[in-house]
Amino acid sequence: MDALLAGAALVLAPDNLLVMLLAGAFGLFVGGMPGLTATMATALLVPVTFFMPPVPAISAIVTATAMAIFAGDLPGALLRIPGTPASAAYVEDAFRMTQKGEAETVLGAGLVFSVIGGLVGAVILALLAPTLAEFALGFSSFEYFWLALFGLSCAVFISTGSPAKGLVSVLIGLLLATVGIDTTAGHPRFTFGSVELLGGVSFIPAMIGIFAISEVLRWVTGPRAAAHITRQFGNVFRGQWALFRRYKVNVARSAVVGTGIGVLPGAGADIAAWVTYALAKRFSKEPEKFGTGHVEGVVDAGTANNASLGGAWVPAMVFGIPGDSITAIVIGVLYMKNMNPGPTLMLNQPELLYAVFVTFFVANLLLLPLGWVAIKLYRRILEVPREVLMPIILVFCMVGAFAINNSVFGIGIMLVLGVLGWFMEENGFPVAPAILGLVLGELIEHNFITSMIKADGRLLGFFERPVAAVLGVVTLLVWTWVVVGKVRQVWQDSGPRRSAA
């Protein structure tokens, strides 16, 4: 209880609330700009949060992401351009509702159900994290190795597109994590004589490159249509209570499923939205209306994408394993502040864990007034020309990449990985698994080598502790399921050709 009060005091301090307000406005702006994602908002915030104490840093990230995920609904509903990937699942319904003159209803639903989803996610986070942390205290290197491997496996197989490309992305991240002095033997690896590379590939410049520079490059190489809206909006809260009563089962289901998907390492708000939209259609009494401007899918997926944000912090805080690309960035930030996320955080700095819970509540409550203001001002937000914004983002990224180590080498890393991230996305390779690989690389290798030494090189030793055995078998089953599925698919595809021959 003392820790909870201490955490609440840290979050509710006036300067922290000011940070949350500013971060909230920033998140709404970035999320509302078509083409700029919640992950990019986090990436751009990191250079600033790097210089803050832990609680304001975390508060800024939590608030900005909650706002950005909601704000992604605005261009989706008004322009048919999802502001963030998390809004893509229901963009068709939302836009058609606007065309039918129901813009207020769909924007209000996006806002209200985002808040509800976010609050439920926060409750589940607050209940689940301490219990899991207690359980995780008994974990050894074997359990951590399997857990991290399971996390990476989920990131590979849940990500959209080909599993082989997802795996390549993870492996690139893991390979980048091996650069520098090896932690077990102290031997330099892949440094090519560079003193700068001895410390490894700096995480923050890498992440800014992959998530922000690649976005700038995508904008520069893509079509540049200007987006404008001319109308004003009325009362967006009218009719929301009736919607809640009508779809309360949907809201409960999507909040729980969304949080659960957030907890799964590697799966974030976008996947939560797609899954719950599909579930809503499956269980709906009017599935034929989906895609024609029906609010039900918006309610479900809008609830789930914000709920998943809280869920993603469960594995991040308890095991140090990110639940999505945003928490991957957060873990990097925490490590740099010498606050290693994991079960011992609950023992050593419980007020920090409780501060995260309280931050989620406050951020989601703040979303209601700030989101309302964002809807009212959205016309003006869209008027900010991206021709001006993108060069400024570019310069901001360069300063951020420099600021971490006060080295121009960071800008070089950012540029190289920005081009790599852009090229990867152009060719269907998801980039989020690469960041998870980079964050988890050292953890996986350290626990793998430690476990190998403990087991004297016997791989069966990885299955001798009960929890490790369960985690190991589950991870291997996931791989078997995917590989068997792929082989069957190839076999079926080649069937007609075989019979033709």
Partner: protein, 157 residues
């Protein structure tokens, strides 16, 4: 720019071979048959496996050219935009200490804004000056990041 999966797979296999080759030079841990080379070797094996899968998949589905340039490569204006963004960043890296942040960033931002807006040079550079000085003030004064000032050292805050 889209590259056929088979070609990407081949590049991955070659890259994996280079990683594995370099890793074999790393020493083992004392008294163990493994060491710093183990993880890179496993990663290389994984990359080679994925590369092989991409080669097979790419050859099976090959119905277009090996490399398909993006639509932007057919618009000379956009090629110049990309060159300015990438070249500008390389120039910033090379001249960072010599010219300092404010000069480089104002030059790059002003150039890019005026290019993207199709003119308005004075207005674009005015926006660039305000934006860069704000960033410089925030990072150098509030966050105490030692951004280099180059020839302007001592001339402003």
């Amino acid at each position: 720019m889209r590259v056929n999966d088979a070609l990407l797979g081949l590049v991955l296999i070659l890259g994996a071979a280079a990683v594995a080759f370099q890793a074999q030079a790393f020493p083992d841990l004392p008294g163990q048959g493994f060491g710093p080379s183990l993880m890179p070797t496993l990663i290389a094996a994984g990359l080679a496996g994925c590369g092989a899968a991409l080669v097979v998949g790419g050859l099976r589905r090959r119905d277009g050219p090996w490399i398909t340039p993006g639509a932007w490569t057919r618009r000379p204006g956009q090629i110049l935009d990309v060159a300015l963004v990438l070249g500008g960043m390389v120039a910033v890296i090379l001249l960072w200490q010599r010219l300092g942040f404010v000069i480089l960033a104002t030059g790059l931002t002003g150039l890019l804004i005026s290019r993207f807006r199709g003119g308005h040079v004075v207005g674009s550079f005015a926006i660039a000056v305000v934006a860069v000085l704000t960033i410089d003030w925030a990072f150098r004064h509030l966050l105490l990041v030692p951004l280099p000032q180059g020839p302007l050292t001592g001339l402003y805050w």
